[in-house]
C-alpha cells in the first residue's frame, strides 16, 4: 500500500487500447485515407477547399474582430475560439436544415455558419441581450453558460424529434471540462436509454479555464461514451475534413434511427478562456508553438498549394468575405439600439403575473418623476396596483 500512489497504474487488469486519432488532412497538408471516415468523406474539389478556407477565415475574423471590440470597450466579454475553427466549421457544415443544435458559449463560429446574424452574437457579449436570435428560426438553442447543461436539452429535443417521427439529428456542443459535469453524464445515460438521435460533439481544447484536460480525464474523453453504450470517435479537431466526415457519419446515424454518437474533436484553445483570462499564468511554455504548427487554416492552404491550385485567389476571396463580415459587424453595432426598461419585465412570464406587473408599474411611476417615459404604461396597470383580487 505504501508504495502505491494515485499515479500507479492498475496491475492485473486488462488494458484498453488507446483510441485512434482519426485524420484526413495532416498539418503538412497531405491527404490520407481513414477507414472509419472514408465513406462519409466528401470529394475534395477546388471549390470545396475554397469554401472551407472562406468559412475558416471568416470565423477567425469574427473572433478577432469581437476580441478587438471587447478591447475597445464595445463588448463586455468575448470567449475566443481561435484555433478551434476547423472543429466548428466541419461540424456545422455537416448539418441539414431540420437538425437542431444546442451550443455552449464558445460556438460562435458554428452559429454563424448556421445562419445566426453575427450582430446577434455580438450583442449577447455586449450585454444587450441573452440570446441575439430566435432559436426557433435557426434551430439553434440559446448559448449555454452553465457548463454542460445544454447536453440534456439536446437529448430531450432529440427524443421529441424521434417521437414526432422526424428524421433529424440534434447536436450538443460542449468542451472537455463539461465532461466532468453530472448533466453530460446523465445526458449520455438518457440518450442511450431512449436511443435518442443525438450527437455529442465535444471540442477538447485542452483547457477548462486554467485546468488542463488531464486533471479531468485520466484517459481519452472518447473512451467514456462506450461505457454508456454510445459509440465514439476521436477526431483531429484541427482537420476540417475529418471533422466534417465524422459529423456526417454521426448525424446520418442519428437520422437513420441508429441512436447517439459521441465525437471528441481534439483541438486547442490558442487564446484565453475569455477576454478576462490570462493564460500566461497556467499555460506551459512551448505548448502554444506546438499547436501553432497544427493550425487548421494553414493546413488547408498547404493542401491547396500542394495541389497546384491558385492559393492567392482563394486567400483574396476569403479576405474579402472576412472584411465584409467585419464591416457588417461594425456598422451594425453602430446602428444597434440598446434595450429599454420594458425588457426587464417582458418575457419573464408568458402569461400575466400580478406581482411583477405591480413592480413594473411602480418602476414606471418612479421613472416618470424624472420625465423618463421609457417604460410605457400597461392598460391594466392601474387595476393591478390596487387591491383588485385576482388577475385574468
Amino acid at each position: 500500500m505504501g508504495s502505491v500512489t494515485l499515479n500507479t497504474p492498475p496491475t492485473g487488469l486488462p488494458q484498453l487500447p488507446e483510441p485512434d486519432l482519426l485524420q484526413l488532412l495532416s498539418p503538412e497538408g497531405t491527404l490520407s485515407t481513414e477507414h472509419d471516415l472514408d465513406p462519409w468523406a466528401v470529394e475534395v474539389t477546388p471549390e470545396l477547399l475554397a469554401e472551407l478556407h472562406r468559412h475558416l477565415t471568416e470565423i477567425r475574423r469574427l473572433d478577432t474582430e469581437a476580441t478587438h471590440l471587447q478591447r475597445q470597450g464595445e463588448l463586455a466579454l468575448w470567449p475566443p475560439l481561435l484555433g478551434q475553427e476547423a472543429a466548428q466549421v466541419g461540424s456545422a457544415l455537416a448539418l441539414q436544415e431540420k437538425d437542431y443544435i444546442f451550443p455552449s458559449y464558445r460556438e460562435n463560429g458554428a452559429l454563424y455558419l448556421r445562419g445566426v446574424d453575427p450582430l446577434g452574437l455580438i450583442r449577447m457579449w455586449r450585454g444587450s441581450t441573452f440570446c441575439g436570435w430566435a432559436p426557433s428560426e435557426h434551430r439553434v438553442g440559446a448559448q449555454q453558460i452553465i457548463i454542460g447543461a445544454q447536453s440534456l436539452h439536446a437529448v430531450g429535443y432529440a427524443m421529441g424529434a424521434a417521437m414526432d417521427g422526424e428524421a433529424s439529428a440534434t447536436v450538443a456542443y460542449f468542451g472537455d471540462g463539461a465532461t466532468s459535469q453530472g448533466d453530460v453524464n446523465e445526458a449520455m445515460v438518457f440518450a442511450a436509454s431512449y436511443q435518442a438521435p443525438v450527437v455529442f460533439f465535444c471540442q477538447n481544447n485542452h483547457w477548462a479555464i486554467s485546468e488542463p484536460v488531464g486533471l479531468q480525464a485520466r484517459r481519452h474523453i472518447a473512451d467514456r461514451p462506450w461505457g454508456f453504450g454510445i459509440p465514439s470517435m476521436r477526431v483531429d479537431g484541427n482537420d476540417v475534413l475529418a471533422v466534417l466526415a465524422a459529423t456526417r457519419r454521426a448525424t446520418e446515424r442519428a437520422r437513420n434511427g441508429g441512436g447517439p454518437t459521441f465525437i471528441e474533436a481534439v483541438t486547442y484553445r490558442m487564446g484565453p478562456h475569455t477576454t478576462a483570462d490570462d493564460p500566461q499564468r497556467y499555460r506551459p511554455e512551448g505548448e502554444l508553438e506546438a499547436w501553432r504548427a497544427k493550425d487548421p487554416i494553414d493546413r488547408v492552404e498547404k493542401l491547396i498549394q500542394r495541389r497546384g491550385e491558385d492559393l492567392d485567389a482563394v486567400k483574396n476571396a476569403s479576405q474579402q468575405a472576412a472584411d465584409a463580415l467585419a464591416a457588417r459587424i461594425r456598422s451594425g453595432l453602430a446602428q444597434s439600439e440598446e434595450p429599454g426598461p420594458a425588457e426587464l419585465f417582458d418575457h419573464v412570464y408568458a402569461e400575466p403575473h400580478s406581482e411583477l406587473e405591480r413592480q413594473r408599474e411602480h418602476y414606471r411611476l418612479y421613472l416618470e418623476q424624472f420625465g423618463d417615459h421609457s417604460l410605457p404604461a400597461r392598460s391594466d396597470a392601474a387595476a393591478l396596483s390596487t387591491a383588485s383580487g385576482t388577475d385574468h
Binding site: A142, L152, V155, G156, Y157, G160, V348, G389
Partner: protein, 353 residues
C-alpha cells in the same frame, strides 16, 4: 376555462356533476384528461409507468397512453428536468414527477437556471410549459428527505409559478391549469392528504390558477395557508367558533404569485393576520405575505402579523415531527397572540408578535 369563483365558504352541498374521490384519484384524473386532450402532454418520472408511481398517482396511465407518453426515466433528477427542457424546446408539455420533495435538489440547477429563465433568455421565443409535480410536506412518518417543504426556493425564483392544492377539487383544477399554462409551474402535492376524499366536478368552469379562495368566511382573524395545513386551519376555525372567535380562512392555492387582493380585503375587515405553513419560518412564504400585507394594510392592522410555521431546522426524524408541524393547538395559540389575548408567549416575550 376560467371563472372568478373565489369563495367556497358558502356551504352549499355537493354540486350536481361532482363525485366523491380521493385526492390522489383527482390528480390521476387530471393527468389522464390532460393526456387525452393534448397530444403534446407527456409524463416523465421515476417509477411512474409500470408501477404507476410510488404513490400510484399515475396508476394505469402508461397502459392507456403507452411508454412514449408516460415515460419511466433513469434515476437522475437533473436528467429528467434537462430532457424535459429539450422536449419543451420541441413544443411538448412535459409533466415531470419528482418522487419526493427532498429529491428535487439534484434538478435544482436545471429548474432555476434553465426552466425558469429560458423564456426570458430567448425573449419569448422558447416557452417552457413544464409542470413539476412534487409530493411535499410531512406527517406520514417517513425517513429523511421524504417530508420537506421546499416551496420558498421556488417562490424566490423569477420565472416559476408555484401552486399547491388543499382539496381534491383543486387537486384536479390546479393541475389542469398548470399543464395548460405556458409558464413553468411547480405543483406541490400535499402527500399527507392523498387519501382524503372530497367532491370533484371534472366539468366545472375552473377558477384561475392565480386566484386565492375564501375557504371559511369569518370576521375576527384572517388565516392564510395552503396545502396540507389548510385542513388543520379549517379545524381551528371550527374550534375557535366554539369559543366565540370567527376566523376567515383563505386558501392561497397559488403561492407564486400570491393573490394579495383577497388577503387585503379580508385583513381590512379583520385587522388581524395569521399565516400557517409547514416550511420553516425564516425567508418563508409567510415572511413575504407578512411584509406585503404590513405594507399594504398598515393602517388597518390591529396587531403585527403572526406566523405559525415549522422551525428553522432540518426536517426532524418521524418520532419528532409532531413537534415541528403546526397543529390545531399551535394555530389556536397563534390566534390568541394575534387577538392580544393571553397566550403561550405572554409571560416570556412582551415584544413578541
Amino acid at each position: 376555462m376560467t371563472a372568478t369563483t373565489t369563495d367556497r365558504s358558502s356551504g352549499q352541498g355537493q354540486p350536481a356533476g361532482a363525485q366523491t374521490v380521493t385526492f390522489s384519484r383527482a390528480i390521476n384524473s387530471a393527468l389522464r384528461d390532460a393526456l387525452e386532450e393534448d397530444p403534446q402532454v407527456v409524463l416523465m418520472g421515476e417509477d411512474i409507468g409500470t408501477l404507476g408511481g410510488v404513490f400510484r398517482i399515475t396508476d394505469g396511465l402508461q397502459q392507456q397512453f403507452g411508454p412514449e407518453r408516460v415515460i419511466d426515466t433513469p434515476l437522475a433528477e437533473s436528467g429528467i428536468m434537462g430532457t424535459a427542457v429539450g422536449l419543451a424546446y420541441r413544443g411538448y408539455r412535459p409533466v415531470v414527477e419528482i418522487q419526493f420533495d427532498g429529491f428535487v435538489y439534484p434538478s435544482f440547477d436545471q429548474i432555476v437556471s434553465q426552466v425558469a429563465k429560458l423564456h426570458f433568455r430567448t425573449r419569448g421565443d422558447v416557452k417552457m410549459p413544464i409542470t413539476i409535480r412534487i409530493p411535499y410536506g410531512g406527517g406520514i412518518g417517513s425517513p429523511e428527505h421524504h417530508s420537506e417543504s421546499p416551496e420558498a426556493y421556488f417562490t424566490h425564483t423569477a420565472g416559476l409559478r408555484v401552486v399547491s392544492p388543499s382539496t381534491p377539487q383543486d387537486g384536479y383544477d390546479l393541475l389542469r391549469e398548470a399543464i395548460a399554462s405556458d409558464d413553468p409551474v411547480v405543483y406541490l402535492e400535499p402527500k399527507r392528504r392523498y387519501h382524503a376524499k372530497g367532491p370533484v366536478d371534472l366539468e366545472r368552469d375552473r377558477p384561475s390558477m392565480n386566484a386565492a379562495v375564501v375557504a371559511a368566511a369569518g370576521t375576527d382573524v384572517t388565516v392564510v395557508s395552503y396545502g396540507s395545513p389548510m385542513t388543520t386551519c379549517l379545524q381551528a376555525a371550527e374550534a375557535a367558533a366554539d369559543e366565540g372567535t370567527s376566523l376567515e380562512v383563505i386558501d392561497l392555492r397559488s403561492i407564486s404569485p400570491v393573490d394579495y387582493g383577497v388577503i387585503e380585503s379580508s385583513v381590512r375587515r379583520t385587522g388581524r393576520l395569521l399565516i400557517v405553513h409547514e416550511a420553516g419560518l425564516t425567508g418563508g412564504v409567510g415572511a413575504e405575505i407578512a411584509a406585503q400585507i404590513t405594507e399594504r394594510c398598515f393602517e388597518w392592522l390591529e396587531h403585527a402579523p403572526v406566523r405559525i410555521t415549522g422551525f428553522d431546522i432540518p426536517y426532524p426524524p418521524a418520532k419528532l415531527e409532531h413537534h415541528h408541524l403546526p397543529d390545531l393547538d399551535r394555530i389556536l395559540d397563534g390566534v390568541d397572540r394575534v387577538m392580544d389575548r393571553p397566550n403561550s408567549q405572554s409571560a416570556a416575550d412582551t415584544h413578541g408578535a
